[in-house]
């Protein structure tokens, strides 16, 4: 266990939280839950979530396993708010997640209403490491990949580091996801909002202007692969928050692996989800 890993340890076992808030953001749902006594996660870490009730019984009896979600934000909140001392730790954070309904698990979670029970395990995995070599952070994301970049931008800005963001979305219905970050430049596939085209077009231009950066990226695999390849071609370091199908989220099942450039596999849930792009020969297509 490296001490310098951006990883907050999780309480052992899953715990039950109550949904505190649900709001829609274009096509996305933002779900918030207070985590009394829970630790403050690092940007890029994730939680395994499952609804307390009706987790199962949809198409093919699914969902059965919990689902992985990057933390979107974790703010001090709850009863102890405003109390003296280390209030955040005493009260625990209000956790926020950004969801897109793509299957039985996310559909069920997107239906949750305030007060309903949410099983939570986390924070899990390793988050975004600090920029190396005094490089400037450049955030690049797409779709629900926006979530980990939002909390990371908060942290960078709080640390006095600029953190411009480039975000890609499918269309105008999804573009409101960009409001989760400050000063994001947006690209949409259909041109309905911002640049008409891929977010990597924006990244390419940005790197032309200044390539003493480290790119923090999260998004759909084809986007991540484009970012990885672009960064590699330009000798720019990249830190990619990857996704894969997960059963456990804590290294137990060996299911969430991604192939490494030098052979073998890494478990994204314990060795990631954030990986140095240089470790990969490619970001695998889903």
């Amino acid at each position: 266990m490296s001490l310098s890993e951006p990883r907050t340890l999780a309480p052992f076992g899953r715990r039950m939280l109550a949904v505190a808030e649900r709001r829609e953001l274009g096509a996305y749902v933002v779900l918030a839950a207070d985590d009394p006594g829970g630790p403050i996660p690092r940007a890029g870490q994730f939680y395994m979530l499952a609804a307390e009730r009706e987790w199962g019984g949809r198409d093919d009896g699914r969902p059965f396993l919990p689902r992985a979600f990057s933390v979107l934000r974790a703010r001090a909140a709850g009863p102890a708010e405003g109390a003296a001392g280390p209030a955040e730790d005493a009260a625990g954070p209000r956790l926020e997640f950004m969801l897109e309904a793509v299957g039985p698990g996310t559909e069920r979670l997107c239906e949750l209403r305030p007060g309903e029970g949410l099983h939570v395990t986390g924070p899990l995995g390793i988050g975004f490491p600090d920029p190396p070599d005094a490089r400037r952070a450049l955030l690049c994301g797409g779709g629900v990949g926006t979530a980990p970049l939002a909390i990371w931008q908060d942290e960078l800005l709080a640390g006095g580091q600029p953190a411009p963001a480039l975000l890609g979305f499918r269309d105008a219905a999804h573009a409101p996801g960009a409001t989760l970050l400050q000063n994001a430049r947006v690209a949409t596939d259909d041109g309905s909002h911002g640049h008409h085209g891929l977010v990597t077009d924006l990244l390419d231009a940005e790197l032309d202007a200044d390539d003493h950066v480290v790119v923090y990226a999260c998004g759909p695999p084809p986007m991540l692969e484009a970012v990885r390849a672009l960064c590699e071609a330009r000798g720019v370091p990249s830190r990619l928050a990857l996704e894969s199908g997960m059963a456990c989220g804590f290294g137990a099942c060996f299911g969430c692996v991604v192939a490494l450039r030098d052979g073998g596999y890494a478990r994204l849930c314990v060795d990631g989800p954030v990986l140095d792009g240089a470790l990969l020969a490619e970001v695998p297509a889903p």
Partner: protein
């Protein structure tokens, strides 16, 4: 059949309760990276429900040589179950002895090391090397593997298993558990062969051979390895039948598993004849499932005790 709660004697080991993990479904090193040292502490020391969730730890399957495992995707969610094609990734015997064993020695519970080999010779080498290590309290043989010498699945056929065990058994004085394959015509006959050849216990069931179609590409397989093994609630009734069949045939203790999610399910497993109950897939849904299940089991026995008096 009456079954007792509390501490359990199993092959000369004394376990605090009857709940252990299924091989390959809990990684102590990764759990410690994720949850910290709390997970390694003795149950209850940091308060009720705290600490290591199992009464003994079963390692994932170790092979002689290092294995990377199967290409992804390795997981598929089935109706109330999970199909996996992990492919037994492990550091190999040497890596296990050098890297994992020191970590596992810190566990507050007995350690059972699970091994697999594709011939009697390979198994003998594994068993001898582990027999020499004090950290290892018992050995489990995963026999869901074809014998390269005969082409037959070692665990699918009573004769085949007996022949292999006759060679392996003398190599260790530690308790030897045989983890049976469920993909066989008569699992009780295979268990009987294991007992005849000197096994101290049998463990079952392993996963059921299964296929997952690709959700978007008609005709294509989803799993990198095409087929995998089905675990979880979907197989619980099959597991109960096999444990019951085996219990009717052998006198050695049984580690029963397959789809156990609650204390009630564990009690069902004990009632059909298991001495220990292993939890696999449910730990993926709740890392501390073992703790919860052993507590629920206690409560069940407490209640039925009260009812009986």
């Amino acid at each position: 059949m009456t079954v007792a709660s509390g501490s359990v004697a199993f092959c000369g080991l004394h376990l605090a309760h009857p709940i252990v993990n299924g091989s390959g479904t809990f990684d102590v090193v990764a759990a410690r990276r994720t949850f910290g040292d709390a997970v390694l502490r003795a149950p209850g020391i940091d308060g009720p429900g705290s600490g290591f969730p199992f009464a003994a730890f079963v390692s994932k399957t170790i092979t002689l040589e290092r294995r990377d495992g199967n290409p992804p995707p390795r997981l598929y969610e089935a109706p109330t179950g999970l199909i996996n094609s992990i492919g037994l990734p492990n550091k190999g015997l040497a890596g296990y002895l050098a890297h994992d064993l020191p970590e596992l020695a810190r566990l507050p519970v007995p350690l059972i090391t699970n091994v697999m080999g594709s011939s009697a010779d390979e198994l003998c080498a594994l068993v001898e090397a582990l027999d020499a290590r004090d950290e290892v309290d018992a050995l489990e043989l995963n026999v869901s593997c074809p014998n390269v010498d005969t082409g037959l699945d070692i665990g699918a056929d009573p004769r085949e298993l007996r022949a292999v065990l006759r060679q392996v058994r003398p190599r260790t004085a530690k308790p030897l558990i045989v983890k049976l394959t469920p993909n066989t015509a008569d699992v009780a006959a295979v268990a009987q062969a294991a007992q005849d050849a000197g096994a101290d216990a049998v463990a079952l069931i392993n996963t059921l051979r299964a296929y997952a179609p690709h959700p978007r590409r008609p005709g294509a397989a989803w799993l990198g390895n095409a087929t995998g093994g089905l675990s979880g609630p979907a197989i619980r009734a099959v597991a109960l039948a096999q444990v019951r069949d085996v219990a009717a045939r052998v006198t050695i203790p049984i580690v029963g598993m397959g789809g156990v999610q609650t204390g009630r399910h564990a009690a069902d497993m004990l009632e059909v004849g298991a001495t220990l109950v292993a939890v696999g897939t449910e730990s993926f849904r709740d890392p501390a499932a073992g703790t919860r299940i052993s507590r629920e089991l206690d409560e069940l026995f407490a209640n039925s005790g009260q009812k009986a008096t």
